[in-house]
């Protein structure tokens, strides 16, 4: 009974719509979707409008969050570069490397103590001699400048003016053997294994 009623109702509705559809088809343009078409088309079409407002804001929020994270990371102080000279290498604490040294006799220790004392006396006298020589040279220079001042003021002023061409002064110090004339030193090969640290 109910089923028959439903069917008749639906027939009536469809007949009504079919007759109405003629009227409706006049207004039927692409702007108006039919009622029976799926509902999803309505919100899909509205989304591009939402992108203009919310998504730029969302993107900005994302960028800010990333920036804050970066700042937090940067605030951490950079790792200090280790000074390799201050770190005793593990090789020094290796027990297999201990040298076996014979014990010193009494005469040897005595000889060493006496030699050290003799050396300190020798070095002291050497130092005295050096200081005296330097003092003498400075005194000679001072007297020369005094004499020059008596002679003429201009020459004296020229003499005490600083010499700018002298420094930087370079001189090769003495080696054990004199340099061989026209000697070509062979090129040396080396592997540079220094560690380079970046902060």
């Amino acid at each position: 009974m109910a089923g028959i009623v439903c069917r008749t109702l639906s027939r009536v509705v469809s007949s009504q719509t079919s007759c109405c559809s003629h009227v409706v088809s006049v207004r039927h343009s692409h702007w108006f979707t039919s009622i029976l078409s799926p509902k999803t088309s309505v919100p899909l079409r509205a989304e591009p409008k939402k992108k203009k407002k919310i998504d730029p804001r969302r993107e900005q929020m994302m960028k800010e969050r990333l920036k804050k994270k970066l700042k937090k990371l940067e605030r951490v102080p950079p790792e200090l570069i280790p000074i390799e000279d201050f770190i005793t290498s593990a090789k020094c604490f290796d027990e297999t490397r201990v040298r076996e040294v014979p014990k010193l006799s009494f005469e040897e220790t005595e000889r060493r103590a006496l030699l050290l004392k003799h050396w300190s006396r020798y070095k002291f006298s050497q130092h005295q001699a050096e200081m005296a020589e330097i003092k003498e040279a400075l005194e000679a220079q001072r007297q020369a400048l005094d004499e020059l001042k008596i002679e003429s003021e201009d020459l004296y002023k020229a003499a005490i003016a600083p010499d700018t061409d002298l420094f930087p002064f370079q001189h090769q110090g003495p080696c054990y053997t004199p340099p061989i004339p026209n000697y070509e030193a062979p090129d040396g090969k080396y592997n540079d294994i220094t560690r380079v640290y970046t902060q």
């Binding site: 060493r112 030699l115 003499a159």
Partner: protein, 261 residues
Amino acid sequence: MRNISFTENHFTATNHKTASVVSPWTLHGAVCLQRLPVISQDRNPIEEQFSGLMQQMELERSLLSDHELRLLEDAARMSRKQEEDYDSDEEEDYGDKEIVTAQDLEDAWEQKLKQFHPAQRSNGDKLDVSSSERCLADSLVLLIKQDVGSQKVWLLPQIQWMAGETLRQTAERALTNLPGADLKATFLGNAPCGFYKYKYPKDIQKEGSVGAKVFFFKAVMFSPNHLPLKKNSFAWVKKDELKDFLTPEYLKQVYRFIMSL
């Protein structure tokens, strides 16, 4: 009162300067040219003993190095090989170290050192006083034989000062005026290092010059050059040989500023 008198003196002094000639001493500039030592000096007996002691003490207080450890390992391995029940499979894999032992490396290094022939430290006594390659371990000073008055005297190269130049320029001129010399020297500063004054003998005393004042300037030679002068007219001498060349008064002044450290 004091101020007034000072200005009076100043005024008279300037008048005096413009009126009369300058001081009765003629000025000369001289150069003390030194060739610094090229090789290190030999050690004294005390220095030899002490350096030996220092090396011994350093050795005693040190640890074994990598090379020494390798030597010990090689020696231990060799002794193990000599035993009868030697099993080479028990050994760890040494790889290259078995082929080239540390001792072989040492021998190879010694061979390479012997191939290098360094220059002789001492030239012996073959070189005479006029060579600048004489005593390579000491600093040498250049002396010139010049006419002073009527005599030939050994002294440091000097020349008379001309108006309009500084004394240092005079000294530089004294160096370049040596006949045939192109010695490249660095002058150490504008100030003189010493002076010497002497009076002319009566017969040469001109008007206005009682004697001469010589101002010495120090210079250091940095390119060994042989002066093509006459054999006996110049010499390179050490500090303690100076007394054989210079007159006593001159020597006394020059000795003060020549360093032999």
